[in-house]
Amino acid sequence: MSSDTRVPSAEPGSEPGTTEVDAYHGLELYRRMLLIRRFEERVYLVYLQGEIPGTLHQYQGQEAVAVGVCDVLRRTDWITSTHRPHGHALAKGVDLRAAMAELYGKATGCCGGKGGSMHLGDPSVGMLPAIAIVGGGNTVVTGLGLAFRLMHTDQVAVCFFGEGASNEGAFHEGLNFAAVQHLPIVFACENNLYGASTPFHLTSLVPDVAARAAAYGVRGEIVDGMDVLAVREAAGRAVADARAGAGPILLELKTYRFAGHSRGDVRGYRSREEEALWKGRDPIVRIRERLALTLAEDVLDATDAGVEAALDDAIEFARQSPLPRAEDALTDAYATVISREPTP
């Protein structure tokens, strides 16, 4: 890490002028990762208390991926996400309160309570409603890239997906189409070893999703997804290439989800040893240790406290927010309504 003193980027969307990251920038990466981690942990607690309806797919352990990738994106770049979108949303800049309120099913949620945990998104920061169909984003993202090309902008789209999704037909059609059209897209595969309960080796004879890129004439690259600086560096190159017109790239980010697949998963399909091994690579611990070499402990502690305060605020905001009106359920299926609306 350099001791460069450039002003840290205060929010996602900062252009990566260099692959180097100074201490203040590193602190910001740490803060965002911690925000995601603590968001997930606190959400789980309020979920258990019955405050959040439905189900949750959580992101603990994978924070370096979302934060590292989104750090090299502009606000005008777009991402697609999955059933496990909390980390992506916070990393791309979805308002914390609005994300929390959405989980609570409140009118102030980023989707007005219509989306919920699996469909977090916010067009104003460049995030589609997350797509909870595995592989669903892999075809839709090509349209984003196509639009950018047709509109002659230099925007880039990032498609987040899991290694499990790489077995869907959508992975194949999306990547191939993006390749032949040279679209400005980064396919960011988070290989956390499992799709629900199923280990990847039961569903693919090739251990690396990146190896599949060759089938499309696309560059595939394996990245340590537990190291935010490594992710940021690789994503920075990938995004810059895509932006420059070099076509799509497939990044495979080797990572691990510390929690179960969804709430209530007791993780009987994997060993505690394996979990401990990956816990030992906790990306947040790693960056904190590195930061501690150059930053005073109380700077870090203050950051931690700031995260906690922001979460206190967001949870309180969500709790206090009004419920949607029942009749709001019946709007927004169409932009132009021609027929009579049904009555509740």
Binding site: G54, G113, I131, N167, A196, S197, A326, A333
Partner: protein, 348 residues
């Protein structure tokens, strides 16, 4: 036990998840051609399917016959079609019905047409099990897409609402030589306890002895003379609740569970409509183009002059599913909406 005998009170009670598990185990023992295939169905230490229906089955049948797949719905459905064409009897699993849209070609263009294209020389005996229904998971994890499949000649479509019929129908479906799409409602499995279904008792009498319940037969769940109510899954229970409430006002509903949507048991339903002169249909699938429309159309053709009131349909409103409970409950048919429809049908 005579096929089709309705469940008696008392005796051994199972929930739907248990009844389905028992049906699968019996059929796997009975015919070595039966096998399971899907995502997360048999992983050691795993979920036993998205709703735990398969828990314990790999211990008896092994991984040869309980096949864990990649997340590849086209491959799952395609493999089932191909194996069925070779005389096997696959039971593919689709975790959530919402994912059916990933393998429509295999179902609509292959499973449903292969027999016909071969001039009747091949058949496709498979049973695709799909959980449906709203459970606070939003637009892509709560759909009830039964009606799409009611529109596919070559398929059969079953919806089960209690453990007795779930078991008897699943066994019949496995033995049937045609492809069957088998819809189960998430809130009715019973594997997650009763609170999810609003405190309902989610068990039913299931005899120890083997029995089959035939595809294509409806059951009258409650007799009545004022109005016929046809409903499936959660809407059935909501209709029964509405019927109880309305009985106090002297409206006696005849509530019918069609169980099979394709082919529909017209005989039972038409007989009831001819008796009551009134028809209300309730389903959680969305209104426009829903199977309720098909039923209404048939009644309007076959029993028009028996009708004393317009046919009313109660269905999910024509919107995607929102996740916030207050909106979600607005979209799906409630007891109140069903009750209001019955009342209006009965001139209330």
């Amino acid at each position: 036990m005579t096929p089709g005998t309705p469940p008696a009170k008392g005796g051994r009670r199972l929930n739907i998840a248990e009844a389905l598990r028992e049906a699968i185990a019996e059929e796997m023992r009975h015919d070595e051609k039966v096998f399971l295939i899907g995502e997360d169905v048999g992983v050691p230490g795993g979920f036993g399917g998205a709703f735990g229906v398969y828990l314990g089955l790999t211990e008896e049948f092994g991984h040869e016959r309980i096949i864990d797949t990649p997340i590849s719905e086209k491959a799952i459905a395609g493999a089932a079609v191909g194996a069925a064409l070779m005389g096997m009897r696959p039971i593919p699993d689709l975790q959530y019905s919402d994912f059916l849209f990933e393998c429509m070609d295999e179902l609509v263009n292959q499973a449903a047409k292969m027999r016909y294209m071969s001039n009747g020389r091949l058949s496709v005996p498979m049973v695709l099990r799909c959980p449906v229904g709203t459970a606070n998971r939003g637009a892509q994890h709560g759909q009830c897409p039964e009606s799409y499949f009611v529109h596919v000649p070559g398929l059969k479509v079953v919806c089960v609402s209690d453990a007795y019929h779930a078991k008897g129908l699943l066994k019949s479906a496995v033995r049937d030589d045609d492809p069957v799409i088998f819809f189960e409602h998430k809130l009715l499995y019973g594997s997650k306890g009763r609170e999810q279904a609003g405190g309902m008792d989610l068990t039913a009498y299931v005899p120890e002895e083997e029995y089959l319940f035939p595809i294509g037969r409806a059951v009258v769940k409650r007799e009545g003379t004022s109005v016929t109510v046809v409903a499936t899954h959660m809407s059935l229970y909501r209709s029964l609740a509405a019927a109880e409430e309305l009985a106090r006002d002297g409206i006696e509903c005849e509530v019918i569970d069609p169980l099979t949507l394709l082919p529909l048991d017209e005989e039972t339903i038409f007989a009831s409509v001819r008796k009551t002169g009134r028809l209300v249909i309730a389903h959680e699938d969305t209104l426009t183009g829903g199977w309720g429309g098909e039923l209404a159309a048939r009644v309007a053709e076959e029993c028009l002059f028996s009708l004393e009131a317009p046919i009313r349909r109660v269905a999910s409103h024509d919107v995607p599913l929102p996740v916030a409970p207050v909106m979600e409950q607005t979209v799906v048919p409630s007891v109140a909406r069903i009750k209001a429809a019955i009342q209006s049908c009965c001139g209330g």
